[in-house]
């Protein structure tokens, strides 16, 4: 969602001057309540309510009272091939966006860390996708992908490569096409985060390594990457979650089509809830999404920690 939340906890915890242990006086509560109450009422509360709804047959606009139906929604979900199709697409999309996003952002960050002439322009440009509303990004790429008037097909025609493919409607091309947009849209945050990490790496280390005759690749492996790793891991994990949960971009680009080939889990749950009114069932989908993502990340993190111990 945002950069601020992307940066998370500092990678290295230097002793901070501000956060010392001091007893809380009662004035602190007065300072906290204005934010705490909305958080509890409009965030934590609805979240718990949402989880509870997953165990009911709640529907919109129904007069009969909502019934507690236990795990029935989850049993139905287990056999809902459409949901698992969308889940698979969601994972494909999340990996397909997150990995190239990271690699491209790393490349750009490394370039921007150099003393190059176009740097200010590049920095400004790299920010644009970030400032744009997701809906506009989607609209913009629809214009690029447009079969007749789009720049992509025009360029291909000029190069003599095929003519007039409808990228967003093709069964085989729709998912790759939206993945490219996802990569484009999310690159800036990742670049800026990695750039900040790079600029925190002590220059002396680089110079020392260069003096020792280490080449660029070796310097990257021995100096840059170790320093960058914590922030790289944090931003990648977050990007993965955000991408898996994303909605607006694909809603505008394909609305899940063609034939469900780009129907991300969020699009599926949205339709289930607000087109068909199946609140309980959609809430159950949300729960499954959270659960699987948490497990995946836990495994990944556990693997990382183990790797660290081995290292």
């Amino acid at each position: 969602m945002t950069l601020a939340s992307a940066i998370r906890r500092p990678a290295t915890r230097t002793p901070d001057t501000g956060g010392r242990r001091r007893p809380v006086d009662h004035g602190a509560w007065f300072l906290v309540l204005p934010a705490l109450i909305p958080i509890l009422v409009l965030s934590v509360g609805p979240l718990l309510y949402g989880i509870a709804l997953a165990f009911t047959d709640a529907q919109s606009g129904r007069t009969a009272p909502t019934q507690w139906i236990g795990a029935l929604n989850f049993q139905d979900l287990l056999h809902d091939t459409l949901f698992w199709d969308s889940f698979r697409i969601g994972l494909l999309w999340a990996v397909g966006v997150t990995v190239p996003q990271f690699l491209l952002a790393l490349g750009l960050a490394l370039l921007l860390d150099q003393d190059l002439r176009l740097r200010p322009l590049a920095r400004a440009l790299a920010i644009i996708p970030w400032a744009m509303p997701e809906v506009v990004v989607g609209i913009m790429w629809r214009l690029v992908y447009n079969p007749d008037a789009g720049i992509l097909n025009e360029t291909l025609r000029d190069l003599g490569l095929g003519d007039g493919h409808d990228w967003l409607s093709g069964l085989g091309t729709a998912l790759p096409a939206v993945i490219v947009v996802g990569v484009w849209a999310g690159m800036p945050q990742t670049t800026v985060a990695l750039l900040a990490g790079l600029q925190n790496t002590p220059r002396e280390l680089h110079e020392a390594a260069a003096m020792d005759g280490a080449g660029a690749w070796r310097r990257f492996l021995t100096v840059t990457w170790p320093a960058l790793r914590p922030i790289a891991l944090a931003i990648t994990a977050l990007n993965f979650i955000w991408n898996f949960n994303s909605f607006a971009l694909v809603y505008v680009l394909t609305n899940g089509g063609p034939g469900g080939r780009t129907r991300l889990p969020m699009l599926f749950a949205y339709e289930e809830a607000f087109r068909y009114g199946q609140f309980g069932y959609a809430a159950a989908m949300g729960c499954v999404m959270v659960a699987v993502i948490s497990v995946l990340l836990a495994i990944r993190l556990a693997g990382r920690l183990k790797g660290d111990e081995d290292a």
Partner: protein, 277 residues
């Protein structure tokens, strides 16, 4: 020396490739917005419109209530930014200065809140707001935006508070200033730029937000700009490209302007602060 030059050239080449990748969809959007219908219908689209026109902008305003939508977006984004910052600043101060279980829980919530698919929160919120008769109202949307903006507002502000040396506050206290006075005359001025940056960031996020607005706002006159933009794309996915591009270009301008203002703070100060802290 030769390899060094070669490496430089490679770097510039790579940077150029990035610039093209980042810029070309954006330039295409703007170019499309100024193209007359005739040029749009041509099978060989031009990069730069041969006879640029404002007709698409006029048509966009005729087709959809864009001004009204922009006003709605402005109100929602302003409301969200102001309220979020007003209530987040005191809490961020406590979180930054005291290590209490509550501060830890708040930090945990900031992290966890990022992982939840919004659908799990929006269904209950929809039901609650419906009971309060706040569906299809900007007030309801602002309430949702405030809470949605709080995690990152807290995150940014905690960083900014940490950057204000506690010693300054202690010195003021030694000089006999009360708690409120210390906060207002010592801490607040030093924190002000950070607060403004946070508010602007919350503003952009709300201005750009789509999912909550799509679910909560039903009547066209009450919808925000991103939702109204999707009306340009017909049910069959067919769109009138010119007006679509014109409206999309206009909707981006405010965020770009605001972002240009806070860009330095975000890329520079805030990030460095967050990473080092």
């Amino acid at each position: 020396m030769k390899t060094r030059k070669g490496a430089r050239a490679g770097q510039y080449l790579a940077l150029l490739a990035y610039l093209v990748f980042l810029a070309f969809p954006f330039l295409w959007l703007i170019s499309t917005a100024f193209k007359p219908a005739r040029e749009l219908a041509s099978l060989h689209p031009t990069w730069i419109p041969r006879s640029p026109t404002l007709a698409n902008f006029r048509q966009a305003f005729d087709e959809q209530p864009l001004l009204h939508a922009a006003l709605n977006s402005l109100l929602a984004a302003l409301g969200a930014a102001v309220v979020a910052v007003l209530i987040a600043t005191p809490m961020a101060y406590v979180m930054a200065r005291h290590r209490t279980p509550m501060a830890k829980a708040a930090t945990g919530w900031v992290v966890v809140s990022q992982a939840f698919p919004f659908v799990l929160v929006i269904i209950p919120l929809f039901l609650v707001l419906k009971n309060l008769r706040l569906i299809d109202s900007l007030l309801g949307l602002v309430m949702v935006y405030v809470v949605w903006a709080l995690p990152f507002a807290l995150w940014m502000l905690v960083g900014y508070v940490r950057a204000v040396p506690a010693e300054l506050e202690e010195a003021a206290a030694v000089d006999g200033a009360g708690r409120a006075r210390t906060l207002l005359s010592v801490t607040a001025p030093l924190l002000a730029p950070g607060i403004v940056a946070t508010a602007l960031f919350a503003f952009i996020s709300a201005w750009n937000e789509f999912f909550f607005a799509l679910v909560l706002l039903k009547t066209p006159e009450r919808q925000t700009l991103p939702v109204v933009l999707t009306h340009f794309i017909g049910a069959e996915g067919v769109a009138d490209l010119g007006p679509l591009a014109a409206a999309a270009t206009l909707a981006t301008l405010p965020s770009l302007v605001v972002f240009a203002i806070i860009q330095k703070r975000i890329t520079g100060g805030m990030l460095a602060g967050a990473v080092k802290s």
